[in-house]
Amino acid sequence: MVNCFHCGDACLDVEIKHDEKSFCCHGCKTVYDILHDNDLSYYYDLEKNPGISPKEIAGKYDFLDNETIVEKLLEFNDGTTQIVSFLIPSIHCSSCIWILENLNKLNPSVKSSQVNFPEKTVRITFSAEENSLKNLVILLSRIGYEPYISLDDSDKKEKNINRSLIYKLGIAGFAFGNIMFLSFPEYFEHSEFWLDQFKPFFRWLMFAFSLPVVFYSGSGYFVSAYKGLRSKILNIDVPIALGIAVLFIRSTIDIVFNLGTGFFDSLSGLVFFLLLGKFFQQKTYSYLSFERDYKSYFPIAVTRLFKNSEGKTVEEQAEVYTVKKGDRLLIRNNEIIPVDAILIKGNALIDYSFVTGEAEPISKQSGDKLFAGGKQQAGILEVEVLKPVAQSYLTQLWSNDVFSKDKTGVFENITDNISKRFTVVLLSIAFISTIFWLMVDPSKAFNVFTSVLIVACPCAIALAAPFTLGNVLRIFGREKLYLKEASVIEQMAKLDTVVFDKTGTLTTNQKNLITYEGVALSAEEKQLLTSTLRASSHPLSRSLYNILDKNDIQTLDDFEEEVGKGITATFNHNSIKVGSYEFVGFSDETNSEFKNRTTVHISANRVYKGCYIFNSEYRKGVAQIFKQLGTDKEVIVLSGDNEGERERLEALLPKGTKLHFNQKPDDKLNFIKNLQQNGKQVLMIGDGLNDAGALKQSNVGFVVSENTNVFSPACDGILDASQFKKIGDYLNFSKKGVQIIKWAFLLSLFYNLVGLSFAVTGHLKPVVAAILMPLSSISIVVFTTIATQYIGKKLRMDINKQS
């Protein structure tokens, strides 16, 4: 087997020899020629087979002639120089970076180009006088780096990256370090001539450093505590804010009245560690987006037909948003229909799998209604718009309330849960010990009261969850489950119901399991069938062709394809008919057996032979997953498809699994809502736009994705399809993570007890606080990290054992 020099794919049907190298297709060869002629063959030295085979793009980018669309895509434009950023999903290796950053060798109008590899974007500055955006896009597509342009690009959002956490962390760390140095002398010497001389100066300098820590870095804790108290929740930030405030006030009083050094070192250290935990908890996968809606799936422009003054029909490229009811649109092969419309002309074969969950493309006759989101698969269509893009059947889903709500903060987290009790106990200890000292020695009472609040500040408790979850988040990332944020893990541990979508989730998108039923075909007939299928571009023909032996391909004498029906072909006086049951010629009997199933029927020389049945192929291990999950959870299948697969699913899945078919997108959403109202904690696993509502409504929504480059709807986590069968292990793993947090709570409560024993007896010196607080924080970090890495290793071993 020879592999393509450009893209590395195996050369299956054809092998093109060129320049002593082999190529799998003409596209790859062309890219090689372009690069070779421009002295860019270094591309092939950097990585082996780095290329991407370019796709057919004729006419696809005509909409870039429309200036308003171009204007929306451009980041900067002064008439001569234009800057544009493209998302290029096919960026995957260092050769890609090199070629894209050397674009100016291919086209001198490009002034500079810069790749952001993790985000898979390239930012190109080019001269508008010498080149147009359209040519640039075509150039990129020709060398295999086709940019992904969608409706999402048309409403330009300011890239607003919130970096305030880094600033806060930076300031806290900076102040912490400096204050440590300044407070060091007093740790060891109580009175010494020079020390006494400089004491006030050192102390006020520490005070100055602590100001930004309290009022900027720590500000988030005060805000959150205030918000918590207003909604009558004692969240973890209440005792933290109390601790920070008491630390600062007590320390200021200490230095004003010259009572001691104060606790500025502990104060800044506390804030620094807390922010560090927050920072660690974040892990962003810059090339994945968890917030996408239909806009990133829909095209930005569409071809509109209208009659000009002379009565001639003219094509124009219009923005999708400007399309109105009654407009005529032209939909090309492989384009997505962006609006609800009526089919006027053309043979429609529409793939709705992503939108409704129906597995096979559906053919439509003129006069039929077409829904937005379907992908045309056979030739050109002319349609009349019924509803504009924002009001279509599919996009209506996004006007549901769930999409305007923010999921985070809805669920109570484990730390706030413990903080309720902790705060109450802490305050009672503080008051009891103060009352005790008021009776015994009133001069110490204030001292004890503040000491209790200082030393019991739940820094370690607040760190337990962020570091554990942060670690678990990274372990999941390594195992190809990409979570949106750490709080999802806590929700995962609580789940008791799992709902699966069928098409694309339980089934794979790539392969079909094809079986033949009927009279066996002779070798000659098989030959003829293969040759016939080869000429057809229908998706079913393509997948059938791929599984057949490809020997002795003949050039057919006659070939006719009736789109939506079937193919007739003849060779050497043998004729063959391939297509629907009716087409093959036996229309009288409506065969109920084949209803709801995808079949291709064959007749040779007017004799019915049999049919190929296309079954969707289920992912490996579906049965085991259901068994594993079924032990302690309720498992449900929710499909937008018809009931054709019911029997197969029932045979495949454990008995008692609930199956629901013909579920529309908002049915799915309401189904999940119902489960939740009955007190269920629901995990939704889906893949397409039709699951978007259910994913958003569920407690945790995961998307299964074959290729993380392609579009996936808004969700809490993206699961790589190869890891699909491990979903049960992952759920168990999240439970173990929560267990670790609970152990860490115990550990930090122990530290608090030690600290409190110093505080209530009135012995808390700044140096004790300065040792105890970082010590407890660091040991929590160490404990949670070691524990999560240990269970992470076990997870890895379990997975390896299974596979």
Partner: protein, 68 residues
């Protein structure tokens, strides 16, 4: 010993300068993409070899000569 006021002032000033530089670099987006520059850096080396291969060879020779 009063020099300590000046020393502290200088050290705090230097620390603040570095701190401001850090903030500025974060704000400019220097830490947004930490991967691509590491790859890009290696290209330029290779490119020089390709374009001016003779030059780099001669300089290598010089180094080996001087070692002898």
């Amino acid at each position: 010993m009063n020099i300590i006021y000046m020393l502290l002032a200088i050290s705090v000033f230097v620390a603040i300068v570095f701190f401001v530089l850090f903030i500025v670099s974060v704000r400019k987006g220097q830490y947004d993409d930490t991967y691509t520059p590491s790859v890009r850096m290696l290209f330029e080396d290779e490119l020089v070899k390709e374009g001016g291969s003779i030059k780099s060879e001669t300089s290598k020779e010089k180094i080996t000569n001087s070692k002898k």
